[in-house]
Symmetry: C2
Subunit: 373 residues, 2 copies
């Protein structure tokens, strides 16, 4: 049976780029933050993978909504909501920041943009963190404004990203540091341009305010990129798995804590910073995580899509599960992201994967990102 269509109503928002990606033959969508996210075009995932590693792509990531904190208590609330130490964060910095609940379970993994000492954007994965922030602020009687601004992120990814973006914004874009942003003028409006993105091929994420500015930005980049083989794109599953880029809702959920997700480097654990979930997280850290996200490589034909976790077994015992899997034409094997129990997460450990199509394969655990990805 053909996969069911996505039926769109006002409740599932189009983006400033939707008309453009539809004209370019978008073939599939997902829904993130009540907004459509393109998931494929006319190219196969493999063709798209090679293109992303060689050229440059525009990605409609308008679904990456911003939770804006602004006002006297903005810095206080920002710190309360993440395990990452924000004390030394500077204006112009982008910070990957696990958000956890009082039990230290993962709520989200946004990038925080520090726009000013009293002004932050949390660029969020799929969950209404606006409601979490507003509930906390109202309950605590904090003094700040919390909103979702009319901002529609657009990503430029791939090794030719600097060349393309420099054509539109000038050579100074090359000076933007990794996980740093600068504010440019575009069409008479301020535009945040950050060196971030959901691939390991380099590039930028841009934050146009207003629907029409977004469409103008797409058009400017598209026209400037014709001889760079610019293409519409989207997060590429092969590249994402090889690169060890985790997706909230897939690799990590509310059932997991950030240490299980391998995010310890983004967690301040010495007790010198107060945030929601600190006590629970320190307790977990003291005894050590019981499981860990790892890479997996397994043999066999190209596997189907992983729509629900596939068991990983050792003997007759389940020791983990795969959350995302796909054939890698470069490694010439299936590659996957998986959660492994303690004792089975060492690189080189051999387990068995039970694929949804009923097949079983020998699977080898590896570090993330995978070799030379």
């Amino acid at each position: 049976m053909a996969a069911p269509r996505l039926l769109v109503s006002r409740r599932i928002r189009a983006t400033p780029y939707t008309q453009r990606v539809e004209a370019l033959g978008v073939s599939g969508y997902s829904v993130v933050n009540h907004t459509i996210l393109p998931k494929g075009f006319q190219k196969t995932v493999e063709e798209d993978y090679w293109h992303l590693k060689k050229h440059v792509q525009l990605w409609d990531v308008g679904c990456q909504r911003q939770v804006e904190l602004r006002g006297a208590d903005a810095a206080r609330l920002a710190q309360l909501m993440t395990a990452r130490d924000l004390r030394n964060a500077r204006v112009g910095q982008c910070l990957y920041a696990p958000m956890i609940d009082a039990d230290a379970k993962m709520l989200n993994d946004p990038i925080i943009l520090k726009l000013a000492g009293d002004h932050y954007w949390f660029s969020i994965a799929d969950a209404d963190m606006l409601l979490w922030a507003q509930g906390l602020a109202l309950g605590m009687g904090l003094d700040l404004a919390i909103d979702e601004p009319d901002v529609w992120p657009l990503a430029v990814q791939g090794p030719k990203s600097d060349d393309l973006v420099a054509r539109v914004f000038g050579e100074q874009v090359r000076d933007i540091g990794f996980f740093r942003f600068k504010v440019f003028d575009f069409e008479g409006q301020e535009l945040v341009v950050a060196r971030t993105g959901f691939s390991r091929q380099g590039g930028f994420e841009m934050y146009p305010e207003g629907f029409s500015l977004g469409t103008k930005l797409w058009d400017a980049l598209w026209q400037a990129g014709a001889d760079l083989e610019v293409s519409p794109g989207c997060p590429n599953l092969i590249e994402r798995v090889e690169g060890g880029l985790l997706s909230y809702g897939n690799e990590m959920t509310r059932a997991d804590n950030p240490l299980e997700c391998g995010l310890e480097q983004y967690c301040q654990l010495d007790g010198s910073v107060e945030y929601i979930g600190l006590e629970a997280l320190r307790k977990i850290a003291a005894s050590g995580a019981e499981r860990l996200i790892r890479g997996v490589v397994f043999e066999g034909d190209a596997c189907p899509a992983c729509q629900h976790p596939w068991p990983l077994t050792a003997g007759k015992r389940q020791v983990g599960y795969v959350t995302t899997a796909i054939w890698s034409p470069r490694i010439e094997a299936n590659v996957a992201l998986a959660m492994l129990d303690r004792g089975y997460w060492q690189a080189g450990t051999v387990v068995t994967v039970e694929v949804a199509d009923g097949s079983q394969s020998r699977a080898v655990i590896c570090e993330l990102p995978m070799e030379a990805s």
Copy 2:
């Protein structure tokens, strides 16, 4: 171009009914609360409309997630989160309950099930109200547990619903009052059966706990209904518009207050009950809502789907917008739900609708629900 497919990953949850509806030829999906919602089957929307008004249908509404409040402060938080007066709510009652923010803007419109004095389910529309509730409770230091239980609502809708459900649960289901629920035994587990649903054709919503119990419930109802012409179904757009049933995210959004949404009867405005947004809502009530959701009937050929609001104009002035529209084979005209400015919401007012296909039609405002729907 064919509508893009919905690509499903672990992040977009399947329900206990997904395998059943796929076997029955589901043709389209939406996504609600990170869960797939069937939107169509092999029947056309018109065939489905007539079937729903005559027979009985099973609807996979597993996306209607529950926010469970349980503990000492459960009643207090439940009341804080809704403008509806819960003081006289009884155990066994279902209460349609607008949830608003501090500015009296609509956050959600759940049905609250009062399971015990210290135990509530909020059966929510599309937004992570779990995070709102948990943020408030944590910020205020309230004493209760707030979770999303493993409950997967299944709706039985249509005039033969009592006959079908009685075959599975016994004749006592006929005694369940409108917007009341009773707890039955099913396969050795407790099961909440409520006389509610997102149609005006009668029926029930059931709340099985656990994935496998849900699938067993579907199968029991399906097998019992063969000679009742039971069919898979979903909220029917024609019936919903004629019946004036509002959809959060479509007719009402965070830009609207409950008085604009015609929900004044569900709002306690005399100040005797404290809830979030009370002050703002009383201020709005004192001056009167500036706009109101109404029905609209308009001529012309069958209109396309309304994916973003269509302007309603009087002369050259915009006086409202359509949020949902579809051809009604019974009324033999297009029917729509719309937000109208004050001065234009009286039944019988004539305006112009600017349909997305570029056509303009004469449109007449009407009360909701529409005549004899």
